[in-house]
C-alpha cells in the first residue's frame, strides 16, 4: 500500500535516504506504531529499503531496534501503519489473522536471531536442511547437498555433523546464517550479530556478509548498537531513537555530520 510512498509524507525528523537509482523498494515500513501495554515503543517509523542495500539499524539500547525487526519478520503484531516485505503485506492486528501474508513473508525473508536459536537436537547440517525439506518439500538428498554448499560458503563444512552445544558462538552464528539462506530469502534480517563475537571475529563476519551480499543477491537489514560495525559494513544507516528514526544516511556522513543533536549523544560525540 505504501510501495510508492512519496518523500512528502515523511516526517521532518526523517531526512532523505540515499537510494539505488532504480525501482521499487524491497521493504517499505510506513508509520509503524508498536506498543507494549501502555508504552509506545515505535512511534510512527517509516523507511524504504531498496534491493541490494545493506542497511544498519542502529541506536541506543532500548530504542526499539529489535522490536522493529520483530515486526518486520512477523513475530510481533503492531498497532498502526503498514509493512511490506517483497510481496508480503502486513497490517495491524493479531498475527493469527494474517496467516496467508505471513506465510508469504517467510518465503521473502530470513532472520538470524541475536542468540541464533539453533535446533539443539539436530546437527549443523540438519539444522540447515530441516526447513527446505519440511516446509518447501525439497527432496532430502537435494536439500542436503545444497546445505553442504551453504555450510561451505559460511566456512563451516568441517563442522557439519557437530551438535550446536559443541559449537562456538561464531560457528553457531554461521550455521544460523546458512539455515536462513537455505530458504533462499530476498532479505536477511540480523539482530545484533556482533554481540556474542570476539572483537577479532567481527572482521570475519564483515567479510562473510560482504561476500554473501554479492553471491546471494541479498538485501541486509542488520540491527546493531555498534556504530563502528555499521560503518564497516553498511551502505546506509538508520538511527532509531526512542521510537523515532532520527538519522538516515551513509554511516560515514552520520558519523561526521549528524543531523539530529540526539545522535551526537548516542555516538558519544558530546562527551568527546
Amino acid at each position: 500500500m505504501s510501495s510508492q510512498e512519496s518523500p512528502e509524507t515523511r516526517t521532518s525528523t526523517e531526512p532523505e535516504a540515499p537510494r539505488d537509482a532504480s525501482g521499487t523498494p524491497v521493504i517499505s515500513v510506513d508509520k509503524l506504531v508498536k506498543k507494549y501495554g501502555e508504552r509506545t515503543v515505535l512511534k510512527g517509523v517509516s523507511f524504504d529499503i531498496q534491493p541490494g542495500q545493506v542497511v544498519a539499524l542502529v541506536g541506543p539500547s532500548g530504542g526499539g531496534k529489535s522490536t522493529a525487526l520483530r515486526c518486520m519478520t512477523g513475530l510481533e503484531p503492531f498497532h498502526d501503519g503498514a509493512i511490506r516485505v517483497g510481496d508480503a503485506k502486513l497490517t495491524p492486528g493479531p498475527l493469527a489473522r494474517h496467516k496467508h501474508e505471513l506465510a508469504r513473508l517467510r518465503l521473502e525473508s530470513g532472520l538470524v536471531f541475536q542468540t541464533w536459536h539453533l535446533f539443539p537436537h539436530m546437527t549443523a547440517l540438519e539444522n540447515v536442511h530441516e526447513a527446505p525439506v519440511h516446509v518447501k518439500r525439497v527432496p532430502l538428498e537435494v536439500a542436503r547437498n545444497k546445505a553442504k554448499v551453504l555450510l561451505e560458503k559460511v566456512g563451516l563444512s568441517h563442522r557439519q555433523d557437530a551438535m550446536p552445544r559443541n559449537m562456538s558462538g561464531g560457528e553457531q552464528q554461521r550455521c544460523a546464517i546458512a539455515r536462513a539462506l537455505a530458504m533462499e530469502p530476498k532479505v536477511l534480517f540480523m539482530d545484533e550479530p556482533t554481540s556474542a563475537l570476539d572483537p577479532q571475529r567481527v572482521g570475519d563476519l564483515v567479510e562473510l556478509l560482504d561476500h554473501l551480499k554479492t553471491s546471494e543477491k541479498l538485501t541486509f537489514v542488520i540491527v546493531t548498537h555498534e556504530m563502528k560495525f555499521a560503518e564497516k559494513l553498511a551502505d546506509r544507516t538508520l538511527v532509531l531513537y526512542e521510537g523515532h528514526v532520527i538519522e538516515d544516511g551513509h554511516p560515514k556522513d552520520i558519523l561526521v555530520a549528524p543531523k539530529d543533536p540526539r545522535t551526537r549523544t548516542f555516538l558519544g560525540l558530546d562527551d568527546a
Partner: protein, 513 residues
C-alpha cells in the same frame, strides 16, 4: 560423609543392643502369675465381642433401615442367643470384612461371626466352632445358555466366585477357569454381560445378588458348606464354650427359629440340631497344605509377564494420549484446551481403582449395549486393565510433557516460525522431540510406578503378579516365600528401568551444561 556414616551406624547398633533387654522384660512380665484365658475374660467382663462387617448387608448383620444406628440381622440374633446361653452380653465390633482374620489375631474382638465360611485355608489359621448355618454352593448360569447344565458341563469355561471363598476352593479343584472377584455384585454382572459362563457362590448370595435377575437361574447345588464362629488358635476353652452354646440353642430349636425369621431356614438346616463332634471333624478335615513348588514359581513368571504386558501397553497408550492432551492444552483452541484440562483434573483427582471399576463394570457394558454387541468376552478384563491404566496415566504424562514443552525456550518456536514452519510442523519437528528428551526420565519413573499400580487391575479379575502371590500364599499358608519371590520379580522389572532413568537424567544434565 564417611565419619557421618560411622556415627549413624554406631547409633543404630546401640539401639539394636536394647532389643534383647526389651524382649526379656516382656517375657518376665508375661510369665508372672496366672494368665487369664479368653473365656475367663469374657466371663469376668460379661461381654462377648464379635467382629463383622455391616457392609455385608442383609441378612447377616446390618443397620436397621427404619432405625439407623440399630443393628439387626440373623447373626445379631444368633450372637445374642449364644451370649445369653453363656450368661454374658454380645457386643458387635465393626471391621472390614477382608481383614477380619488378621484383626481377630490382633485381638480387636473375641470371635468372628459374619458369614465366614469354613475353608481348609482358614481352618489352618483359626479355630472353628460347629456351624450355625449350612449353606449350599450354588451354580448360577444364564437362562439362555443351554449348554451350561452343571459345573461339569462348564469344563474349560470361565466361572466366577469370591476370592478365597469356599466356592473358590471347590472351583480350584475342577477343570474350569476360575475368575476371582472382590465383591458380590460383580460376578453376576459379568455373568449377565457374557464375560462368565457361571458363578458359584453361597445360596444366600446367589439368591440376593444373582437370582434377582430374570435372565439368570439356579443350575446346580454343588456342595454344602458352613458358616461357623471363628476363635483365635489357642483359645480352645472359648471355642468349646461357644460350641456348647450353639449346640444348646440348636437342640431346642431356637437356632432354626432365628433362621426362619430371616427366611433362610431350609431342610439343610436340619443337620444343625443333630450335629456331632464327628461332623465337626469331617468339616474341618484339612486338605494337605500345599508346598511351594516349581509349578508355583512358573505361575509367578506368568503373573510377571501379565504385569509387564499390561504395563507396557498401558504406558504406550498413556504416552500417545498424554502428548495429545498436553498439546491440546497448550496450543489447542479454547474449548479443546478446556476439555484437556478437565480430563487431566478428572483422572488425577479420582482414584484409579474407581476408574477401573467404572470402565469395566459400567462403561464397557453400556457401550456394548449401545452398539448392539452384547456378548462380553474373556478379554474384556485385560482390555479394561490396559485402557483404564492408560487413560489414568495419560493425565500424568500430559503434565510431564507440558512441563517439558514449557522448558523449551520460546526462541525455538520463533526460529521455526520464521523458517516458515506451521505451528503443528514446528511442534512435531522442533518442540516435541526436545520436550520428550526432557520428559524421558519422568516418563521412565512413571513407568516404574505403573508397574506397581498395575496390581490394582486384580479388582477387575486380571490375575497379575501380586494376585498370583496372594493366591499362592493362601495355598501354602505363608506369605514369606511367595512374598519374597513376588518382590524379587517386581525389582527385576523395575530396577533396570530405574538405572535407565538415572542415566538419562545424567545425560540430560551433561547436555544442558
Amino acid at each position: 560423609m564417611y565419619t557421618h556414616g560411622v556415627t549413624s551406624r554406631a547409633r543404630i547398633a546401640r539401639w539394636l543392643a536394647l532389643i534383647p533387654l526389651v524382649l526379656l522384660a516382656g517375657a518376665l512380665l508375661s510369665c508372672g502369675g496366672h494368665r487369664e484365658t479368653a473365656l475367663e475374660r469374657v466371663r469376668r467382663t460379661g461381654i462377648l465381642r464379635w467382629g463383622g462387617d455391616i457392609q455385608g448387608g442383609e441378612p447377616y448383620v446390618f443397620e436397621d433401615p427404619g432405625q439407623p444406628g440399630r443393628l439387626i440381622g440373623f447373626e445379631v440374633e444368633v450372637a445374642d442367643a449364644v451370649a445369653r446361653e453363656m450368661g454374658v452380653q454380645a457386643e458387635f465390633v465393626q471391621n472390614d470384612w477382608s481383614n477380619l482374620v488378621p484383626s481377630l489375631e490382633r485381638g480387636s474382638f473375641d470371635v468372628i461371626m459374619n458369614g465366614l465360611e469354613v475353608t481348609p485355608a482358614r481352618a489352618d489359621t483359626v479355630l472353628f466352632t460347629r456351624p450355625y448355618f449350612v449353606f449350599s454352593a450354588q451354580l448360577v448360569t444364564r437362562r439362555d445358555d443351554e449348554s451350561a447344565t452343571s459345573l461339569d458341563a462348564l469344563e474349560n469355561h470361565r466361572v466366577g466366585t469370591l476370592a478365597s471363598s469356599f466356592s473358590w476352593e471347590i472351583l480350584r479343584e475342577r477343570p474350569v477357569e476360575v475368575v476371582a472377584y472382590e465383591g458380590t455384585e460383580e460376578p453376576y454382572a459379568d455373568l449377565r454381560a457374557g464375560r462368565l459362563d457361571g458363578v458359584l457362590l453361597d445360596d444366600i448370595i446367589a439368591t440376593r445378588y444373582g437370582l434377582v435377575h430374570p435372565e439368570l437361574h439356579l443350575t446346580e447345588d454343588v456342595a454344602d458348606g458352613y458358616y461357623a464362629v471363628a476363635c483365635r488358635q489357642r483359645e480352645t476353652e472359648l471355642c468349646e464354650a461357644i460350641d456348647e452354646a450353639l449346640a444348646a440353642i440348636a437342640a431346642r430349636g431356637e437356632l432354626r427359629q432365628i433362621l426362619a425369621r430371616w427366611e433362610i431356614d431350609n431342610e439343610r438346616q436340619a443337620r444343625l440340631a443333630s450335629w456331632t463332634d464327628e461332623d465337626t471333624h469331617a468339616m474341618l478335615l484339612v486338605r494337605q497344605r500345599a508346598t511351594f513348588t516349581a509349578h508355583h514359581a512358573w505361575l509367578f513368571v506368568e503373573g510377571a509377564a501379565v504385569t509387564l504386558l499390561v504395563s507396557v501397553l498401558a504406558m504406550a497408550l498413556a504416552i500417545l494420549l498424554g502428548l495429545q492432551l498436553a498439546l491440546a492444552r497448550m496450543y489447542g483452541p479454547k474449548p479443546l484446551a478446556a476439555v484437556a484440562t478437565s480430563y487431566v483434573e478428572l483422572f488425577r483427582g479420582t482414584p484409579v481403582l474407581l476408574q477401573l471399576h467404572v470402565l469395566y463394570f459400567g462403561i464397557m457394558p453400556a457401550i456394548r449395549a449401545g452398539i448392539g454387541v452384547d456378548a462380553g468376552t474373556e478379554y474384556d478384563a485385560f482390555f479394561a486393565a490396559v485402557v483404564g491404566l492408560g487413560l489414568n496415566y495419560a493425565a500424568y504424562e500430559a503434565e510431564i510433557y507440558r512441563a517439558g514443552i514449557q522448558a523449551i525456550p520460546p526462541g525455538q518456536m520463533e526460529a521455526a516460525t520464521v523458517l516458515g514452519m506451521s505451528t503443528s510442523l514446528a511442534l512435531r519437528r522442533i518442540i516435541v522431540p526436545q520436550a520428550f528428551r526432557i520428559a524421558l526420565p519422568g516418563v521412565t519413573n512413571d513407568f516404574i510406578a505403573l508397574l506397581k499400580d498395575s496390581s490394582l487391575v486384580s479388582v477387575i479379575t486380571v490375575v497379575e503378579l501380586t494376585k498370583r502371590m496372594t493366591i499362592t500364599a493362601i495355598d501354602v499358608r505363608s506369605y514369606l516365600l511367595p512374598g519374597l519371590l513376588c518382590a524379587g520379580l517386581y525389582l527385576a522389572l523395575s530396577y533396570p528401568l530405574s538405572l535407565l532413568s538415572r542415566r538419562l537424567e545424567a545425560q540430560l544434565a551433561r547436555e544442558s551444561s
